[in-house]
């Protein structure tokens, strides 16, 4: 009887510690930073949606471009109307695979995530170095990458082209909770 109970508890504990299949965040943080000689351009978006499928070892991110917040309204206006054209391309997306993920491993590890990043309707394959932290309940994925402005045909006026960096640094922080469909 004792042996049966012990086996049951072991089985139960495995049930609790094994990661669930899918994890979701609606409040993923994405920050972009672009160096400019006159004034650096920085914006933050705290509403990125991301789904982490630990069984498939895949991650998907959906970012609403108009949800980027700038300190100055004119910068925000230029970003949406001139550079990103948010009316035509309202979202940026990323779909990727975590390489050598090992989802059951607890603690922090660094992994590459390789996938397709789509911005302004243009898709490019990118490889991002990210830190993945798992405490048994939640996953936290953080990291940074940079993208070339020309790869996504972002139009910078001739007069400003020498004053704005050709690459944009993107940092992200996603804290996932388990998700039941």
């Amino acid at each position: 009887m004792k042996k049966t109970l012990l086996l049951f508890l072991i089985a139960l504990s495995f049930g609790f510690t094994k990661p669930k299949k899918q994890y979701l965040t609606r409040n993923g943080e994405v920050i972009f930073f672009s160096y400019a000689s006159a004034e650096n351009i920085k914006a933050k978006n705290n509403q990125a949606l991301s789904l982490l499928d630990v069984k498939e070892e895949k991650v998907a991110v959906n970012i609403l471009m108009r949800a980027f917040e700038f300190e100055k309204s004119l910068m925000q206006e230029h970003f949406n109307d001139s550079y990103i054209e948010s009316d035509i391309y309202p979202r940026a997306t990323f779909e990727g695979t975590i390489l050598n993920f090992n989802p059951e491993l607890r603690g922090k590890r660094t992994r590459y995530i390789k996938g397709a990043f789509t911005l302004r309707g243009i898709t490019n394959t990118i490889k991002i170095k990210a830190d993945i932290d798992y405490d048994g309940y939640q996953y936290i994925i953080t990291g940074e990458t940079s993208i070339d402005v020309k790869d996504y045909k972002i139009k910078i006026p001739q007069i400003l082209s020498s004053k704005i960096a050709k690459t944009v640094k993107i940092t992200f922080n996603f804290k996932y909770d388990s998700y039941e469909k």
Partner: protein, 137 residues
């Protein structure tokens, strides 16, 4: 004499222009308190809930302030920034609102399950409508 007046006027206009230009390029985001709501949505109204399932038709409201009444479902804090999710009573419709900086203390007076009215600037949708710079009414 006439020439002096013209030069003086030109100088004043130029200084005014420079001030206007710098205040324009440095202007901050307008606080939501100063923006009038374009529409008001009640999440516990079945007809409105049904219409909120087709979010594309709300595209005309992007960058407009809208007022939403619903039930406080969740408050998330990240880096001292507050985001709330308000929902309908039966939980089938959610709206995400990021609170304006000056609303942090006010939200602490609310508990999950309380009715709440918020006004924020509509930015579009992913799964749910997303409002930024939300204030509690």
């Amino acid at each position: 004499m006439k020439k002096t007046i013209i030069i003086l006027v030109l100088i004043i206009v130029s200084i005014g222009g420079v001030f206007w230009f710098f205040s324009y390029i440095n202007s901050k985001i307008i606080p939501t308190q100063k923006i009038k709501s374009t529409i008001s949505i009640k999440l516990n109204n079945d007809n409105e809930n049904a219409s909120l399932k087709d979010l594309k038709k709300f595209d005309y409201l992007i960058e407009h302030a809208i007022q939403v009444k619903g039930t406080l479902k969740e408050v998330k804090v990240h880096n001292n920034e507050y985001t709330v999710i308000i929902s309908s009573k039966n939980n089938d419709v959610n709206i995400i609102c990021k609170l304006q900086e000056d609303q942090k203390e006010k939200i602490k007076e609310f508990n999950v399950g309380n009715d709440i009215i918020l006004k924020g600037v509509y930015k579009g949708y992913l799964i749910e409508m997303i409002l930024l710079n939300c204030i509690i009414i």
